[in-house]
Subunit: 153 residues, 2 copies
DNA sequence: GGTGAAAGACATCCCAC
DNA sequence: GTGGGATGTCTTTCACC
């Protein structure tokens, strides 16, 4: 079970999820804690899975992937077999950076990173050849107005 | 203009965007490069903005924010004034972790991190009191099947 | 929770090739 | 681009209040 996360833990997380470049010294100073206590809290949160990992954020445009597509999917195949294949398919496509099962009208939403519209089309063909999806519609992101990995703490 | 990103740069990025815990020694070994050359490439990519930052990923459920809402917005106010206020509103709401202007039917999509449905409702009321939005519909994420910050390289 | 201190690992930078 | 090496900073782990 998740450990109790108190005010200080939240303050630490707020810093770490913005910039992990800072030293433990800097962080402990910012949250008014000793270097040691601060370090212990960070380690504990890593062990508990509150901190899931430390990653570098890559600018998609810089590596030739400026386009994001939101793919809305409806399906009528809801059996266990189909679901299993859908899940493995999701994992095998690196261009799928997000996949969500939704409430309401739409069944699934995918976030897809591609170079351009032709690249999306190629992705679309590969995807639909792998798994049956009764109704797909894509919408492209014209402008990324906000995008953060930081959770509101 | 972005520098040329070659195979080796991509290999480095593939590692860094997954786990930044590894030392430069480990990375250079993985991509068959000397520690020195590898370090220089990383620094260069940071300076060029290919690497946008280094962050810790926080598990939302562990901090009491297990629910994600996708908010689909249509508007008929498209003037510059409205847009400006919309943008500042987006930035001032930390629970909005993503905001996208879209092609097609929907005008905007928001990704919103909240504790539960009542918390979403409170957010909804605060949002609509701040800015006029002619048509909002929310859909909740039942299951996060895939979610990664790693770009397909 | 708070010292302080010690070990070693690591990033950083320089230079010669 | 490679390799070696100097330097200092940081992490990590102590023992102890």
């Amino acid at each position: 079970m998740p450990h109790e996360i108190d005010k200080i833990d939240r303050a630490i997380l707020r810093i770490l999820q913005t910039d992990i470049t800072l030293s433990v010294d800097d962080i402990s100073a910012a949250v008014n804690l000793s270097r040691n206590a601060c370090w212990r809290r960070i380690k504990a949160m890593e062990q508990l899975g509150v901190i899931k990992g430390r990653v570098a954020l890559v600018d998609p445009a810089s590596v030739g992937l400026p386009l994001t597509a939101m793919v809305l999917i409806k399906t009528n195949a809801h059996d266990a077999n189909w679901l299993k294949q859908f899940q493995t398919t999701l994992q095998s496509f690196p261009e799928i950076v997000g996949a969500y099962r939704m409430t309401g009208d739409l069944d699934y939403v995918l976030r897809v990173r591609v170079a351009d519209v032709p690249a999306y089309d190629a992705f679309y063909k590969r995807l639909t050849s792998r798994i049956s999806l009764s109704d797909i519609s894509a919408s492209f992101v014209m402008e990324e107005m906000k995008e953060t990995t930081a959770v509101p703490l």
